[in-house]
């Protein structure tokens, strides 16, 4: 455990220093962290054996909430936007979760897909509210009343994102160690026994679902502020597929896994755009198959194996 902690610390320091050495990496890494949050949300549900093919909608809701506040409501404060976007995503997660967490297996995946496609179609059609297929522009927010240039703000956003990774990562870590979090793996391995123990699978899953929506919302808000533009495509089902892919690629056993997967994918993407833009999806698809066939614990598992750790019993698996 201590070794994992040390490695995570080293990884965070590298993450913090990278843009100082390679400034062009800052945008890529900001987006990687944003998607990492969403992938972490998906990973929470994967622990319970639930695969959501619609989580990109919460990413999109977070992004649209940020854009909508900045553009239509005139709220410009960075902190307010971040917190409100998270709360709004969590609220949507709670409302949709109320009926979605009753379902298991393929039905859970398909219902999430259906809801996300409704959100996607509404985002692209309700021109007055969402800007239709043009999306919404997001102005540079102020930080406690200070107006910053886009460049300065991007720097702040990047380091705030890293702080959020640590803070939220720690909270999620504590949550997963708590009885409520352990109930998730129990749903996967033996739901009947869990219910006989007097634990409600429904409320455990609803909690996890709401948290996962909130995490995706944080990611969406970061992405919206970093890119400065939100589009309906954020909610398209293939994006949801990519989030699941990112989580599995990184590994769902630890907090670091989804972020590792996300940073890895975004870096490869940046490199691949140069010489193999046409075949980018193919590269990702092959990588996914290789990981599923040969590395069931994802990159995080590989990382641990290289540093001499063995898989622990009772660790969440796909």
């Amino acid at each position: 455990m201590n070794r994992t902690l040390t490695l995570s610390g080293v990884a965070l320091i590298i993450l913090a220093l990278a843009p100082q050495i390679f400034p062009f990496l800052q945008f890529t890494l900001t987006i990687a962290i944003a998607k990492g949050f969403a992938a972490l949300g998906v990973a929470l549900l994967l622990r319970a054996g639930l695969i959501s093919l619609g989580h990109a909608m919460y990413y999109a809701i977070g992004a649209y909430a940020a854009a909508f506040m900045a553009q239509k409501l005139g709220i410009t404060d960075f902190a307010v936007i971040m917190i409100a976007a998270t709360v709004i995503s969590a609220f949507f997660g709670l409302v949709f979760g109320l009926f979605l967490v009753r379902y298991r297996a393929i039905f859970f995946a398909m219902l999430n897909l259906a809801v996300s496609m409704v959100i996607y179609s509404l985002a692209s059609k309700l021109y007055g509210i969402t800007g239709g297929t043009d999306g919404l522009r997001v102005a540079v927010p102020t930080i406690f009343g200070m107006e910053l240039s886009k460049d300065a703000f991007d720097g702040v956003l990047y380091y705030v994102s890293i702080v959020l990774v640590v803070a939220l990562g720690y909270l999620i870590h504590r949550y997963l160690k708590s009885p409520l979090g352990n109930a998730l793996s129990a749903v996967h391995s033996n739901e009947v026994r869990l219910e006989y123990l007097g634990v409600s699978a429904w409320s455990s899953l609803l909690t996890a679902y709401t948290i996962s929506a909130a995490l995706a919302g944080v990611g969406g808000a970061i992405a919206a502020l970093s890119i400065g533009h939100v589009l309906p495509e954020y909610a398209f089902w293939t994006e949801s597929g990519h989030l699941v892919l990112t989580a599995v690629l990184g590994g769902i056993a630890g907090i670091a896994g989804p972020f590792l997967g996300s940073v890895f994918l975004e870096l490869i993407h940046t490199i691949a755009v140069g010489f193999a833009a046409e075949a980018w999806n193919m590269i990702v698809g092959v990588a996914l198959l290789v990981v599923i066939f040969f590395l069931p614990r994802g990159l995080f598992g590989l990382f641990e194996r290289l540093s001499g750790q063995k898989a622990t019993d009772g660790e969440p698996k796909l």
Binding site: L46, G49, I51, L53, F99, R102, Y103, R104, A105, I106, F107, A109, M110, L111, L113, A114, V115, M117, V118, S121, L122, S124, K125, L126, Y127, E191, V192, E195, A201, F236, W237, T238, G241, V244, L245, V248, E278, A279, W280, N281, M282, V284, G285, V286, L288, L289, I292, F293, L318
Partner: protein
């Protein structure tokens, strides 16, 4: 009144026919293999690309135009023969007995690979080949003009529906498939080669998706992204009808197409939302679809 309803109905049924081909393939694969194939939509768009390319070649080479009709069917058969057995034997068979998450991810990986493969092979510009449609022309009944090709689509969908039902209930292979669906373990114990049945069902599913794509090219053409769009529509239809229900898929495709056509006529901004709203409404009341069966949770 009738004057306005009949064109609407023909429009809806022609749309339904195209969705039906893909959705019934998806539902068939799910019922036999118990796998939701996320790459199913890609076989639709590959079928469309191959059919359009072959059609363009036939016209370009100065061959008789009527050859484009058998070409549609042959393209679909070619796609099925090319992809069906090999994909089932290598990727899909590996996921049997694994969790749904793994199955969905493996087929999603396949979807990503096939999407780029299409871009590389067929380019990124849209392809349009409408000889079969223009050749059939239009007919006028009672002052209303119809595209004959639309009527052909509706007829073909009907033929496929009846043929599938007869195949499942009358032919030896079809009955073996039905046995595997009903109880996999017992069929295996009785000596049915389930591995072979899986391959047959998967290939048939690919063929149905490809024929949907091939038949769609004369009306809509084909462009990148078609596979992803078709996939969700097929999901919606298969889920509304109940996963694994052949007749359910037929009725669901009529419902979805009607909702879509009505939306286009009365609330154009809602046309893309209509299928998913119908899906949500149906699944909220009947989670396993109109004709499906199963249990929501283990308890």
């Amino acid at each position: 009144m009738l004057q306005s309803i009949i064109p609407l109905a023909v429009d809806a049924l022609a749309n339904a026919a195209l969705i039906f081909f893909v959705a019934v393939g998806l539902t068939l694969v799910f019922s036999v293999l118990r796998i939701l194939n996320v790459a199913h939509g890609s076989f639709y768009s590959i079928g469309a690309y191959v059919a359009a390319s072959v059609g363009l070649w036939i016209v370009g080479a100065g061959l008789p135009d009527w050859l484009t009709f058998p070409a549609l069917l042959l393209s679909a058969a070619f796609v099925a023969a090319l992809f069906g057995p090999i994909v089932e034997k290598t990727l899909v068979s590996w996921t049997y007995g694994k969790s749904e998450a793994v199955q969905v991810l493996v087929t999603f990986g396949l979807f990503l690979i096939l999407e780029d493969l299409q871009r590389i092979v067929f380019g990124i510009q849209s392809v349009y080949q409408d000889t079969p449609m223009t050749m059939l022309g239009i007919s006028e009944i009672g002052g209303i003009v119809y595209l004959n090709y639309q009527l052909l689509l509706i007829g073909l969908a009907g033929v496929v529906l009846v043929a599938l039902r007869l195949f499942i209930t009358r032919s030896r292979t079809g009955r073996l498939l039905a046995a595997v669906v009903a109880d996999r373990e017992v069929s295996e114990a009785l000596g049915i080669d389930t591995q072979r049945m899986f391959m047959i069902a998967f290939t048939l599913g690919v063929f149905l998706a490809a024929i949907g794509g091939a038949m769609a090219t004369p009306t809509t053409g084909v462009a990148p992204g078609l596979g992803a769009d078709t996939m969700v529509l097929a999901f919606a239809v298969a889920a509304i009808g109940g996963l694994g229900q052949v007749e359910g898929a037929a009725i669901a495709s009529i419902i979805v197409a009607t909702a879509k056509v009505l939306a286009i006529y009365f609330a154009p901004s809602l046309d893309a939302v209509a299928p998913y709203l119908v899906m949500l409404a149906v699944l909220l009341v009947k989670p396993y679809g109109l004709f499906g069966s199963g249990s929501t949770r283990k308890i």
